[in-house]
């Protein structure tokens, strides 16, 4: 298993968010985490990169338990992971190219020409090769999401974590972003974990769906199995 969450509990104040989550994700798999608002999906994802630490339980990435590991070792693990944030989280004081170059400059020994070529390749992949000199504020929501996807994958990560990759996008952009994620899984062998409310996106990208409710995984299986479940909680979600 490339990612394993073992009996993870997390509370904020007196509110229990995760209530003993256990989850195994195999290498090369594309998993969708679904569930209503406030069920702890984003909190769960942030545990994988230790933006949040569990109150109880353990998180394993690439066979390494994150509990108690040092900053440099955690950075090494983070370099194996790309993270697509819900709002894109692009650095708004930098142009699109600089957003990608910032990561390449820090983590590779490529010369400027090689970095520029890599950036051009990444932007072409998300079909935004002509937007490199623009600032994030000059892009549409869908374009920002695609730039964020290019930035998250510019180092060729083994794992891609996506927090609501298609929320707020029009159906064409949903299809585009979903297809890009599928490409990563199929062609690059990237393990993808996506949090999504978007049924179309979940259906396109996922091999397996885990449904969260009350801080626990209440259903798992392929998209059709979970969607067609007779469980009232799932019915309420999928028919809403």
């Amino acid at each position: 298993m490339i990612i394993r969450l073992e009996d993870v509990h997390k509370s904020f104040g007196d509110k229990d968010i995760l209530n003993g989550i256990t989850l195994d994700i195999a290498k090369g798999q594309s998993v969708a985490i679904m569930g209503g608002s406030g069920t702890g999906k984003s909190v769960l994802l942030k545990h994988v990169v230790r933006l949040i630490k569990p109150d109880r339980g353990r998180v394993w990435v690439g066979g390494r338990c994150l509990e108690g590991i040092g900053e440099s070792e955690m950075d090494a693990i983070r370099l194996r992971i790309g993270y697509l944030f819900q709002g894109g989280a692009l650095f708004d004081s930098m142009t699109v190219e600089e957003n990608l170059d910032f990561i390449l400059r820090r983590h590779t020994v490529l010369d400027p020409a090689a970095r520029a070529a890599r950036i051009g390749q990444a932007l072409s992949w998300v079909r935004l090769h002509d937007k490199g000199r623009q600032f994030p504020s000059e892009l549409s929501g869908g374009q920002r999401k695609r730039v964020a996807l290019a930035r998250a994958t510019v180092l060729g990560p083994e794992i891609l974590l996506c927090d609501e990759p298609t929320t707020g996008l029009d159906p064409v952009s949903v299809r585009t972003v979903s297809d890009l994620i599928v490409y990563l899984r199929n062609e690059k062998g990237t393990t993808v974990v996506s949090i999504t409310h978007d049924l179309l996106c979940a259906e396109i990208i996922s091999d397996e769906v885990h449904f969260l409710h009350g801080g626990r995984v209440v259903a798992s299986g392929d998209f059709a199995t979970v969607r067609d479940s007779s469980d009232s909680i799932l019915q309420e979600f999928f028919l809403a």
């Binding site: 933006l51 993270y83 944030f85 819900q86 989280a89």
Partner: protein, 261 residues
């Protein structure tokens, strides 16, 4: 008693905030010497803190120099001591008004800007994005800004002092026709090197205070955009208060050191 409870909760909040700022400052000292060195970003922040504050500092300096000269002349002339005006201007501007006023003006401009920028980066998850990309946001965002403040506050203070004395001279020359050489001789003879070094040097402390407080309040914003506005406002208020308190302490300490008081 409800009032006792309120007072104790205010004290508790103040203590928690003080502890958090102290921990943030320790983190700065712990990380400032480590790699990566962010020289380009540091230069950009020095430009932001320094070059872009020059006009504000020049106007402040000219204004206080001219007004101080106008206000003081009337009082001094009543005692027949008008001739000590250049020396009085030099001592009051260089030892006290220049450093404190420059720092307060910069606290307003830079403190609010840094807290708002970092706060907005926090609520839009840009700082988290740096963290998960192993880009060490504390180095890139905090160390560079605090260091830029430490370096630029004394530089801008020297500029403010020079401009304020120039403003004082222009006002005096227009009012009394005082000779330029007489004015500068009087200014130079009234000041000791230690006066200039201590009073300018203390602004490194003020720069550190503004940098740490503002970065802390911005970096630790939780919630939405309304919290960013509150952090910017708190950064200005808290930095300004701490500058005034630190000024009293620094001046008191200099009086304890022979030759500096």
């Amino acid at each position: 008693m409800p009032m006792d409870g309120l007072r104790s909760s205010i004290w508790a909040a103040a203590l928690i905030r003080t502890g958090a700022i102290a921990a943030f400052a320790l983190q700065f000292f712990n990380r400032a010497w480590r790699r990566p060195r962010e020289w380009p970003e540091m230069l950009r922040q020095m430009d932001e803190a320094g070059a872009k504050s020059v006009i504000l500092v020049v106007i402040t300096g000219l204004s206080i120099g001219a007004v101080l000269s106008m206000q003081s002349r009337g009082t001094l002339s009543r005692f027949g001591a008008e001739s000590v005006l250049p020396a009085m201007l030099a001592l009051s501007i260089v030892k006290e008004i220049g450093p404190v006023l420059t720092s307060l003006v910069l606290a307003g401009r830079l403190g609010a800007g840094m807290a708002a920028e970092l706060g907005s980066m926090r609520v839009t998850e840009q700082i988290d994005a740096m963290e998960v990309a192993a880009l060490k946001p504390f180095h890139y965002l905090v160390v560079t800004r605090v260091a830029a403040c430490i370096v630029m506050f004394p530089v801008l203070t020297i500029l403010c002092d020079a401009v304020a004395l120039t403003g004082g001279y222009i006002e005096s020359a227009l009012a009394t026709g005082i000779d330029y050489r007489l004015f500068t001789d009087s200014v130079i003879s009234s000041l000791r090197i230690s006066d200039i070094v201590v009073s300018t040097g203390k602004t490194t402390v003020f720069g550190f205070i503004v940098g740490i407080v503002s970065c802390h309040l911005g970096y630790t914003v939780r919630g939405g955009t309304s919290e960013v506005g509150k952090a910017a406002m708190r950064a200005v208020v808290l930095s300004s208060l701490l500058i005034l308190v630190a000024n009293v302490l620094v001046v008191r300490i200099t009086f304890l050191v022979p030759g500096l008081g």
